[in-house]
Symmetry: none
Subunit: 203 residues, 4 copies
DNA sequence: AATGAATGAGCGTTCATTCAT
DNA sequence: TATGAATGAACGCTCATTCAT
């Protein structure tokens, strides 16, 4: 009995698996539309077309659904990222960086509204923070690995730190330029970001 | 009566002004220690040494206190920033950037726990988001202004976009390196960040 | 802050004291009529003519009201008992025992239905059990004290143990003969009980 | 179909009888360990190694299992009592009474924790109360019968009432001295009780 | 102006029981 | 027959806000 499974039901029948999925989908939709705190478990159950009790049969509480959704999204995104980076080799420096940015932007493009909630909860809930940090670290290693492959073309030496800095910069730029109603348009921001990173990385 | 003043009391006497201040201080302390959602108005009143009713005599609701505290902090910090940047001129490129970073890091150094709450609410509350964005824009203009002064030494042309990108990078790096229990130490991160920005900005 | 006061309001105004009393009265009525488990806090509040929140302003939870009512009743009853026993002196042996029985029967006569609930909860809740035991012990000491006063007429030597045994016998007889729809009528039971105790105690 | 059989399955095959027994055993274990209200039907089914639905195939509801267990225990205990009393004859008065007490104490010795639950529910549930009363009456008749056999040695005349009073006294003493953390030790209590009953009964 | 008592909608959660497979 | 998924009313409790004094 894993400690994070508590007393939740582990579906063995096909119907149970479907129900669990319906709840996850519904929660994802509502968290994205209304935010975590403004969504209650009864709503999630209704949206999923199941009874309140079924929610608690499959999940310990509201937060555990949130974390599970986040985990699921992250897995998909790490794979996407890896895929996106594969195509980076064999281009010039700027192309490489832009591809990287696209891959990273894809991360949030997946489900921007849910990511927004993650950002909120990351600062107010220790569990979400821990999960976010571990995912962030995973991304950082992915980027560091990619840098490693083109080491001889780089001017930076401390690849881990460089990866971390790049990642942070991208995250915040993408987040902020998404939410802000901006007089500075997105293209100018992205091209400056790409320029900054390229100058930083390459000889 | 301005619409955002609701039915709150506007203190003109010394006693009223003090009471208002005590409430703001108490709220600031509690929001920083326990977070916005885990702090209730009764607690704030008790911590301030006033009655629950008095809280609502001076403030429309819990959120309005939060916003007001945030505004107050931002004003102080914009001034600090301006002061911090004044000393930037007359050094070499790297020194300039590091001074800038120190000035920005100072922003969060002021009241890091409250900033954490701002980060959380920024993503979950439209009003906090709006305020954050306008403050961010103010900071951006400040930075853009500083860049303007040393235009001839810069390789970047689009100063507004550059300022925005720099600002975002700094914010996230500072935030994340604060919360993460890191295998990459802070100094390496900061020096990489400074290097990145300097290469980006200067010829 | 006493540990059993939790975060409850301690009424300082007259209105508050009244409200607290109304809640206690309502709870007593409902516990007696429907039992502890079949009474919920909303009902108590409604019966008391106050809001749910007020209930929780004055009491930590449902059980704490129960315990407080029980405590209050016990205090009154210990006083009644003491009074009832005062008149015991100066009669013959049988008269003394019957007076004692009347005094003890009076204990449950006060609020028999509530006592019934106490009996139920005494076996299912540790806190109620502890309170019951301490009250029982108090009663035992009272009885032992009364025996002490007429020591020379008694054949029993171990007054504490004797008091305990008498008390238990009386309690259960009174309880059971109350609830049972009996073919043995109450008078026969009481007179046998009195006979038993008198033979036991006196030379 | 008897009205109290509801729609429950009446097992005739060996397998069904075993399943029914497993449920009764599991329920007995859990009621004893955690109490009736803190044990839920899912737990009982799991402990018994059957599905939730099977529980309701064999029993009308949770309470009916409780009643059935209680009935079963009582039957065994009545037999034990009868056996225990058989050896009472041919001793002196005190010996007789002590044998009786041992036989009665044996009643609770069987499954003291379950008895505790019975005591709790006896006061809060009419059905349990009725069952308890009828069992109590059975015990009373048993005791009265035993008294009948030694009538010529007794000073009491109303054997039914005497049996009732004795029984009550024993029950409560045994119960209370079990739960109370006592400054009066058990031996003193028991010997006083035996003394009281012997003086009461015998010439 | 100030107090603190009162409000009550709303929340997360449980579990005895039923039902589809 | 046996399974275990599904149900949903009901519960205890919180707290931002209002109101009587």
């Amino acid at each position: 009995m894993a400690p994070d499974q508590h007393k939740t039901r582990k579906p063995v029948q096909k119907r149970g698996i479907e129900t669990r999925g319906k709840i996850l989908d519904a929660a994802m939709r509502l968290f994205s539309k209304k935010g975590f705190h403004s969504t209650n478990t009864k709503e999630i159950a209704r949206e999923a077309g199941v009874a309140t009790g079924s929610f608690y049969a499959y999940f310990k509480d509201k937060k555990s659904v949130f974390l599970e959704i986040y985990k699921g999204i992250s897995h998909k995104q790490l794979k996407d990222m890896a895929g996106g980076m594969a195509g980076v080799e064999g281009q010039d420096d700027t192309g490489r960086v832009e591809a990287l940015l696209r891959a990273l932007a894809g991360e949030h493009g997946f489900s921007p509204n849910f990511q927004r909630e993650v950002s909120a909860m990351r600062y107010s809930d220790p569990d979400v923070e821990a999960l976010h940090n571990s995912i962030h670290e995973g991304l950082g290693q992915e980027v560091a690995l990619m840098l490693e492959k083109q080491k001889e073309r780089l001017r930076v030496k401390d690849l881990d730190a460089a990866a971390f800095v790049i990642l942070c910069a991208c995250e915040e730029v993408i987040h902020t330029s998404r939410t802000i109603s901006h007089r500075i348009d997105r293209d100018r921001v992205i091209s400056n970001l790409a320029d900054m990173i390229a100058r930083f990385l390459y000889k």
